[in-house]
């Protein structure tokens, strides 16, 4: 049967990838019949109503799912479809309590119109009590109106759907994890809604093991733990994990939400000198050794406010005293190891390579990266022979955008043997932050050529 998903009309490019990821998590065969970025209504084919409820239950961007009884360009077409395909279902709802609702997207109807539209369904013969609160069944007439239809005086919607409500998404979760009420956050904490969507795209689920190598205050691990995963994280800045060492700590956030069972372990580390064990990539690998994680999720540093940095000395010739001083001092608990600027593109490549080495087969890596809106300055989607791009979602701001890119770790025996060989050893030269980071450079040039 066909089902109607009622999306929220926001984060449009994230919606379908989220639903497709949920279908993978739930092992549901999902076929998209019609979908458009401009509309909150999506028609899908699913094996059953139970599958529809399961598909939607942890969706952040879908509000509800409905058994689709009819659709068409006008109400007459909807009624014709309902009468042609659903009479065998009507008797099932003859005596239960029920209500009818009208959902007019970008449109409005007078109270009198609403009653008229609903009464037009009286032929269904529902004789049970009408109950506005918690009815046994809810039937919804959806209308898709053009933008500004009320001020423009447009008389009719462009499309209508009629369906039986089956289940709701998880629109309450972003409120539960709202940053405004979280104990410990920083300027780069990821907002709860997008962190949860990221967790869905990464297929976080009970028993899964997830890692964030740029963990900061822990937004992604928290979202993944909310879905039952056990999470690990690290950051080059140990203070971001420790917080004030009292209540405002990463651990405190897990505590606040009752998610401590999902807190695996956090440590201080630089991704480019990571202590995580891994085996070199090889075509004839056993497909298992060193592969630890089901998912890697992160928001790597953009290097805008502060240049992107990794461990090391920027210019050992110009400052030859740094290394000997470190040798002498490094055992001091207060020693802060020197850092050098690093290339943003090299960091993205490091993340992909790390993911290829540590993800189990079909495991996912989802990361955020900024780019310019202008096509000429756009940063291409990074590629790796062991990773297949699953989805690219974009959140557009005024002058720049950020993308959430998700990849799947393909099994070793599916990797093109030539691809790894021909993988160009791109060496990113340059020493200044701008030379190393095309996004930072465009940002400070205000995205003008």
């Amino acid at each position: 049967m066909d089902y109607l998903i009622r999306f929220s009309q926001s984060h449009e490019t994230f919606r379908l990838p989220e639903i497709q990821a949920l279908a993978v998590i739930e092992g549901i065969d999902l076929k998209v019949i019609s979908y458009s970025l401009e509309s909150p209504f999506c028609i899908v084919h699913l094996p059953s109503a139970t599958a529809a409820r399961r598909l939607i239950q942890r969706s952040i961007l879908a509000m509800s799912v409905h058994e689709l009884w009819g659709a068409g360009a006008d109400l007459a077409a909807v009624h014709a479809a309902v009468c042609a395909t659903t009479p065998h279902l009507w008797a099932d709802y003859a005596t239960c309590s029920f209500k009818f609702t009208l959902d007019s997207y970008q449109g409005s109807r007078s109270a009198a119109d609403k009653i008229r539209l609903i009464n037009a369904f009286s032929y269904l013969g529902f004789a049970g009590p009408i109950q506005m609160r918690n009815p046994d069944e809810e039937f919804v007439l959806f209308e898709d109106w053009p933008l500004n239809s009320t001020p423009l005086g447009i008389a009719d919607p462009t499309y209508c759907y009629f369906g039986r409500f089956l289940g709701a998404g998880a629109r309450d979760l972003p409120k539960r994890l709202d940053l405004k009420k979280r104990r410990y956050i920083s300027t780069t904490s990821m907002d709860a809604e997008l962190a949860l969507v990221t967790a869905n795209l990464a297929l976080a689920a009970p028993g899964k093991i997830v890692y964030d190598p740029f963990v900061g205050t822990g937004s992604f691990p928290i979202a993944c733990a909310q879905f039952g995963a056990v999470t690990f994280g690290s950051d080059i800045d140990g203070r971001s994990i420790r917080g004030d060492e009292k209540k405002k700590t990463l651990r405190g956030n897990f505590e606040q939400y009752g998610l401590l069972a999902g807190l695996g372990g956090m440590f201080t580390a630089d991704l480019t000198n990571s202590p995580i064990r891994r085996a070199p990539l090889r075509h004839d690998g056993d497909g298992a050794t060193g592969r630890i994680f089901d998912a890697i999720v992160c928001d790597p540093p953009y290097g805008v406010r502060e240049g992107l940095r990794v461990l090391g000395v920027r210019d050992p010739e110009k400052s030859p005293w740094i290394i000997p001083k470190g040798k002498e001092m490094y055992k001091d608990p207060d020693f802060v190891p020197p850092r050098k600027p690093y290339s943003f593109l090299a960091m993205l490549d490091d993340i992909l390579h790390f993911a290829a080495q540590t993800l189990v087969d079909n495991g996912r890596v989802s990361f955020w990266m900024p780019t310019a809106n202008d096509e000429e300055q756009e940063i291409p989607v990074p590629a790796h022979p062991y990773l297949e791009t699953v989805s690219v979602c974009t959140q557009v701001f005024n002058k720049w955008s950020r993308r959430l890119i998700t990849y799947r770790r393909i099994p070793d025996n599916e990797v093109d043997p030539e691809a790894m060989k021909s993988r160009e050893e791109t060496i990113y030269v340059g020493k200044s932050a701008d030379e190393l980071n095309p996004f930072r450079k465009a940002y400070f040039n205000k995205f003008e050529n």
């Binding site: 009970p206 420790r242 580390a269 630089d270 064990r277 298992a288 490094y330 055992k331």
Partner: protein, 127 residues
């Protein structure tokens, strides 16, 4: 830091990666604590193939726990024997190193653990 985490970590020094002596890291002056965490059988079954069993045996002995069997339990054994499940859970998930050091058996570098958080940042001569 959980014993489980220790099983995922080797020395951060690049030249140590190829040496089998750099894994597992050896706890030194470790102060242990035990968290109360609900048993998660699904997690343990998923973890089983990802754990380096020999390394876990070493760690367990070094922390003063009874010697683990030579072979890891199978997923079926985990499902059938509650004691095996609970023991593994208590070692991997509940046992925490709160303070102390982790020492690389190859280069001797010591990584400090403070309040359960280990620090793997390296001085420049080791990067």
């Amino acid at each position: 830091m959980k014993v489980l985490t220790l099983n995922f970590l080797t020395c951060a020094v690049k030249t140590c990666k190829s040496s089998s002596d750099s894994f597992p890291l050896h706890p030194k002056d470790a102060e242990l604590a035990s968290d109360d965490v609900e048993v998660n059988p699904q997690l343990l079954v998923n973890l089983l193939p990802r754990i380096d069993w020999n390394a876990l045996r070493t760690t367990s002995t070094e922390l003063g726990f009874p010697q683990l069997p030579e072979q890891p339990p199978t997923a079926e054994e985990l499902g059938a024997d509650e004691k095996v499940l609970k023991d593994l859970h208590s070692l991997l998930i509940e046992t925490q190193i709160m303070e102390g050091k982790l020492v690389c058996g190859h280069c001797g570098h010591e990584y400090a653990i403070r309040e359960g958080i280990a620090n793997f940042l390296l001085p420049s001569h080791l990067v």
